[in-house]
Subunit: 433 residues, 2 copies
Amino acid sequence: MKIEMICTGEEVLSGQIVDTNAAWVANTLMEQGYELSRKTTVGDRMDDLVTAFRHSAERADLVIVNGGLGPTSDDLSAEAAAMALGEPVVMFEQWRAVMEQMFSSRGRVMTPSNLKQAMLPRSAVVVDNPVGTACGFRVRLGKAWLFFTPGVPHELFRMVNEQLLPFLRDLDPRQGGSVSVHKLLTLGQAESAMANDIEALTVPCPEGVTVGYRASMPHIEVKLFRRSAVDQDQWQAYVGAVRAALGDSLVAENQPVLANEIHRLLTEQGATLALAESCTGGMIADQLVTLAGSSAYLQGSLVTYSNEAKQICCGVKASTLQRHGAVSLPTVVEMAEGARARLHSDYGVSVSGIAGPEGGTDDKPVGTVCFCVSGPAGSWSQTLAFGSGANRSRTLIRKLSAAVALDMLRRMLLGQPVIADYPFLKRVDRLPV
Amino acid sequence: MKIEMICTGEEVLSGQIVDTNAAWVANTLMEQGYELSRKTTVGDRMDDLVTAFRHSAERADLVIVNGGLGPTSDDLSAEAAAMALGEPVVMFEQWRAVMEQMFSSRGRVMTPSNLKQAMLPRSAVVVDNPVGTACGFRVRLGKAWLFFTPGVPHELFRMVNEQLLPFLRDLDPRQGGSVSVHKLLTLGQAESAMANDIEALTVPCPEGVTVGYRASMPHIEVKLFRRSAVDQDQWQAYVGAVRAALGDSLVAENQPVLANEIHRLLTEQGATLALAESCTGGMIADQLVTLAGSSAYLQGSLVTYSNEAKQICCGVKASTLQRHGAVSLPTVVEMAEGARARLHSDYGVSVSGIAGPEGGTDDKPVGTVCFCVSGPAGSWSQTLAFGSGANRSRTLIRKLSAAVALDMLRRMLLGQPVIADYPFLKRVDRLPV
């Protein structure tokens, strides 16, 4: 079955909005075993819309159209569909009643402009939208189904899950509903090197399993897509072999970022955490506070950007800063231990580094970052050299720093050696040696 | 002149990568006065590529193709272009020599697979890529120019700026180079309300000026596009009227986010800052530390997530927390003044609130957030009720909180009344009253 998608709207076409709806739909379809063969983006001009509908309908079995269902004059999807079909738009009283009900339940009167949202091509089948005034609909154009969805993301997501996917499975029961994805989150290894290692595995990749890679810096996600027919034992053996091939680079499974894994572990273990951040500047705390429930374990983060703040807040000694500098193992050890002691936490984590673009020296170039994790069993610290330049921006250096710090904590929480060997990240120092 | 864009690559089509290249190109073109009329995304299948090239070339004068210029077997753009043209690919010795030079200057030997990157359609004109092995090229197909660009973002950006835009201006000198954008960053007003106010202005919108809106939560950006022919006096009068219509909602001009404006002001004034963050959890510090040079003014941020941390780090009194709670004006005042005093800063800013989804009470529902800004002239604090629900997620409440805190500081730095009236944000309390 051939599926295309058409995204409408000037803001999407002109780059004012990055088209995350399309990526979400494509990704959701793929995880259900369906593939898009083409995506077209057109603006709000009637001719362009009609042409796009007709051309896609000639090529595809299903065309998912997104956007243009609103109440304003530049929302043209229904009219353009009618024009492509050569039929009029008519009032769908059923949907008009639903809209009136929505408005009156909120104590408001429906405006005349909303009436437009119940005007659909005569042959349309209405698709329910339980969370908005823009109903979806589908029409048959030639041999293809055109399926119209709203542009508002949460309305789209719900309609795809509740209406489009079941419709798709009815259309083509052989595909779909049968693919699951296992996601391996990695840190500190190059995509090409991982691909080489995984391709070279002696354990065979079972038929029905495909491997994909997605860079989401500072992580690369290895995705294993599996059709339901795959033998369970072969699958387990293969996943095990992939895990082994990834080694220390594998930092979490089925978690979008490392912070989620830390959140899970600290919550499970009932342990508390204090942070002392310099170059990450609050980023680590922010990643944890994003997750509801982080107040159960996060005491706080001392974002000690100046040397003075490091002394006042964490108790770093002036002599340490003088002798070794702010970016040094003795400083990060005092930061982590100081934050842990002052905030009475089970664990303390610290980061101090040179994120650039200025501030580097011959001795400590931009990209030099020191880390320490301190817990009941002691303190471990290391210095990594991330390098700098076009591919290692200030932002990437800071994101890498947050990820390495969280990974050190993760390893301590799991009772593993705290300091890992990431093939693609260069270590210049560590304590204990 | 009609311009289309074709994006290639399975990862883009399948939603593994959000297509930010296309948004960047469209946006860059628009700021230069050129518009895209259509964007097509296709995968790595030869047939689909050839068809897409041919169809776009029938409709457009210029087709910008992105991606598929790499050395691997799924990079098919040059071959597909040749097929669409009905001509062979041939070795371009000129580019082969450039590549060999690149490799040898890095002390490496060029791999045979890279040779493919010098194989272009016979009629191609090479377009230089000073930062990568994938050269661009352009070919004439029918009446259209097909302009091929690399998928690696920084290579693309450079080629567009240095090669594509000059080429475009040669093609159509009447357009381009003549549109500038003035961006007004707003906070706390609805897009529809702003649009109504701006449409209702008595000062006329000069011909050649168009108004656009872009939501980038928690901000909405009002964009004024201006062709060079616009009369300067009319323009100034109009911008002044728009500013007045936006009122307190206007928080910065020609800055992407509020943090850049704070960065500019604190740097200019040589003043220092200390933060005390609870529900924002390091987000404010992170937004400032993202900007190189922030170490000049940012002493640090005390991310005091627990009540204990608020007492230990900021010196909030236990009795204040007991009597008024962590989300209260007395607490945020002690937080801001404590951070300012302890870190010896000119200014102190604090935030404490209930970001949800749990933790709300009848008295202080989810979305209740308290702010304080403290400086040489005194302390101002307020409580806002952002509300909660589908449109006010934990993340949005936290982003709004960071923006309001920065805006209070901005107003203090500019000598304006610290507490503003945002039409769309509800205030429930303030000090001084």
